[in-house]
């Protein structure tokens, strides 16, 4: 998958918690403006991977590096801020990820002040531009998070992540707490942002139908390991691993057979010894 325009290279990431290997040998390249999906069930290691990418979790071994820069793993304030300008994350639950006492406008201005040395007027302008970009009106911009809906909060989280103009945005199930129609709005917003800014996405999800909407490439994880990887459409059309097939069969549709899915899941779990 290596390309000359890669913005991020992930090499042999591994993380264990006690005897449990959460992520084992995760490698991929992410090209500028591309979007890669990581799918799997609870405990597959997809969220641990996301946390290692943004530096919330330190890998036992392996590296996450950004082209044009050294493989720094610094923990100081300066290193952390530099990392923040390369990669940002949008969390799953919009009800937990915002400070309840800070309005969206204030939140954005704070992030901008922390990272850029700008006069107040320009700071305000920049915050307004971000609010416009995610379609938040004046009322929402100056309301406290409790006065906002789930979809509006997720827009705030996206604007806040974009405030430092990162090269990579990690989205950890950004729509799984939202209604279908709101999910569609957020997906459309993300599509537009990617087209306008050439930003790269790492999109974590358990929902293949959503991943199909927003990614070019796909990594399927099962029990900490990559079991399948390739162009999203290829993987969905011709899955090669049993687990990918199980995920595809699990999506409800008229005439599906949920009982055979249960049998297939148990057969797969029995055949796969965890951590082996």
């Amino acid at each position: 998958m290596s390309t000359s325009s890669a913005v991020m290279e992930v090499v042999h990431l591994r993380k264990s918690f006690g005897p449990m290997v959460a992520v084992d040998d995760m490698s991929f390249d992410l090209a500028a403006g591309r979007s890669i999906g990581i799918v799997g069930e609870s405990g597959s290691g997809k969220s641990t991977t996301a946390r290692m990418l943004v530096g919330l979790e330190r890998p036992d071994s392996g590296t996450v590096s950004f082209t044009g820069e050294g493989k720094d793993a610094g923990r100081g304030t300066r290193a952390r801020r530099a990392r923040a300008r390369r990669i940002q994350m949008v969390a799953q639950d919009p009800y937990l990820s915002l400070d309840p006492r800070v309005t969206p406008r204030q939140a954005l201005e704070r992030v901008i002040r922390l990272h850029f040395d700008l006069p107040a007027a320009e700071r305000r302008e920049r915050a307004q531009a971000l609010l416009d970009q995610v379609n938040l009106g004046a009322r929402e911009a100056d309301a406290l998070p409790r006065g906002l809906s789930g979809g509006q909060r997720q827009r705030v989280a996206i604007a806040r992540a974009l405030a430092v103009s990162p090269r990579v945005l990690v989205l950890d199930e950004p729509t799984s707490a939202l209604d279908v129609s709101v999910q569609a709005q957020i997906l459309a917003l993300l599509r537009r942002i990617r087209a306008e800014q050439g930003i790269s996405f790492v999109f974590i999800s358990h929902d293949l139908a959503v991943v199909k909407e927003i990614t070019d490439e796909l990594i399927v994880m099962y029990r900490g390991r990559v079991v399948e990887a390739g162009p999203t459409r290829e993987v969905l059309r011709r899955p090669s691993h049993d687990y990918t097939r199980l995920l595809l069969d699990s999506i409800p549709r008229p005439g599906w057979d949920p009982e055979s899915i249960g049998a297939a899941r148990r057969a797969l779990a029995a055949a796969t010894v965890p951590g082996a």
């Binding site: 129609s181 929902d207 293949l208 549709r253 899941r265």
Partner: protein, 341 residues
């Protein structure tokens, strides 16, 4: 009252064959919060029927009133709400029913499976105590309770019932616990099963397994089911008929197949277009605008501000359900040549 009566008679003629042996019959149900800044009722003249043995879906987004509707079947209404209409379960109108009649409905006629199994079980009691509670109150002895509980767990595919009976809820996965809740709900052999987003909190593969179990057990017991979800695909896979709700009203009621093949209400059309589907090559299309808050009380159709087909007449009065093909839709234009254009 006059408006509601007219609405009811329209709807009754629009919903086919709704008088024989119904597991649940809701007629003209309106629920209004008397406190806060609510300007419109959370339910507004809801008519809904679940025939005996039938599986019916109730689909809508957060705030559409779908959960309030399903809870109404157990006589559970928001505190201090003003309730009008009838909710008949097993021959009992639970609106304004006496405590003893309500207890009979909740303890036998109808049972509910909630979204979060952990919210419906006492975390400091063992699974065995939870499952055997009703039996103990009926005076069934300890040994007999144990046998019955074991059989219940066995029926929902729990392979080691003896160990499971001794577990506390926190020692179980969400999927396992939901199996226990299904076993508990079916233990009283209810005529009506209410399932409120029973798999939303679970992984997709586990969801499939739990739905499979629920469908199999329901068919085995012959109970009717009202299946509440925001997931149209899931509803279509599980249900015979689907009601679509928007802003406290039923906007469409159709057999699952025809709702998908030929939705007639613009909101149903928009919802289907916003749902990501593996088979589809077309990207999802967001529904423009935002859902109606309780503080907004439009005179006309609640969906009109977001509707691409709205005309002046839509703003005059809320549209009544009218018959369309094999169901009903609440849109004055639902019988136009092509409402999607």
């Amino acid at each position: 009252m006059r408006v509601r009566d007219r609405f009811r008679s329209d709807a009754a003629s629009a919903i086919p064959g709704g008088d024989v042996a119904d597991a649940l019959r809701i007629e003209g149900l309106s629920v209004r919060l008397t406190r806060g800044d609510a300007q419109r009722p959370i339910l507004d003249g809801v008519d809904l029927v679940v025939h005996a043995g039938e599986t019916v879906g109730l689909v809508g987004e957060s705030g559409s009133g779908k959960s309030v509707t399903s809870r109404a079947a157990l006589g559970m209404f928001p505190a201090g709400a003003e309730v009008r209409g009838r909710v008949i379960v097993g021959g009992v109108d639970v609106v304004g029913a006496r405590r003893s009649a309500l207890a009979r409905v909740r303890g036998g006629e109808a049972a509910m499976i909630f979204q979060d199994p952990r919210a419906g079980i006492n975390p400091v009691r063992r699974v065995g105590d939870f499952l055997g509670e009703r039996m103990r109150r009926r005076g069934i002895g300890r040994a007999e309770r144990r046998t019955r509980c074991r059989a219940l767990l066995d029926s929902v595919g729990i392979s080691d019932p003896d160990t499971t009976l001794r577990l506390y809820p926190h020692q179980m996965s969400g999927g396992m616990l939901q199996r226990v809740m299904i076993a508990a709900a079916l233990s009283a052999e209810p005529g009506l099963l209410l399932a409120d987003e029973p798999t939303t909190a679970l992984d997709v593969t586990i969801q499939a397994e739990i739905i499979g179990l629920l469908m199999e057990r329901r068919a085995h017991s012959g109970a009717a089911m009202l299946f509440v979800t925001h997931d149209l695909e899931l509803a279509a896979a599980v249900c015979d008929r689907i009601y679509v709700m928007y802003a406290g009203r039923i906007v469409e009621c159709r057999p699952s197949g025809s709702l998908f093949a030929d939705p007639r209400h613009p909101y149903s059309v928009a919802l289907l277009r916003a749902t990501p589907r593996l088979e589809s090559e077309v990207p999802v299309v967001p529904v423009p605008g935002r859902p109606l808050s309780l503080a907004e009380a439009p005179v006309g159709c609640a969906f009109a501000p977001r509707c691409p087909h709205a005309v002046d007449e839509c703003l005059e009065a809320p549209p009544a359900l009218v018959g369309v093909g094999d169901g009903a839709a609440a849109c004055i234009r639902c019988n136009d040549e092509d409402p999607r254009r």
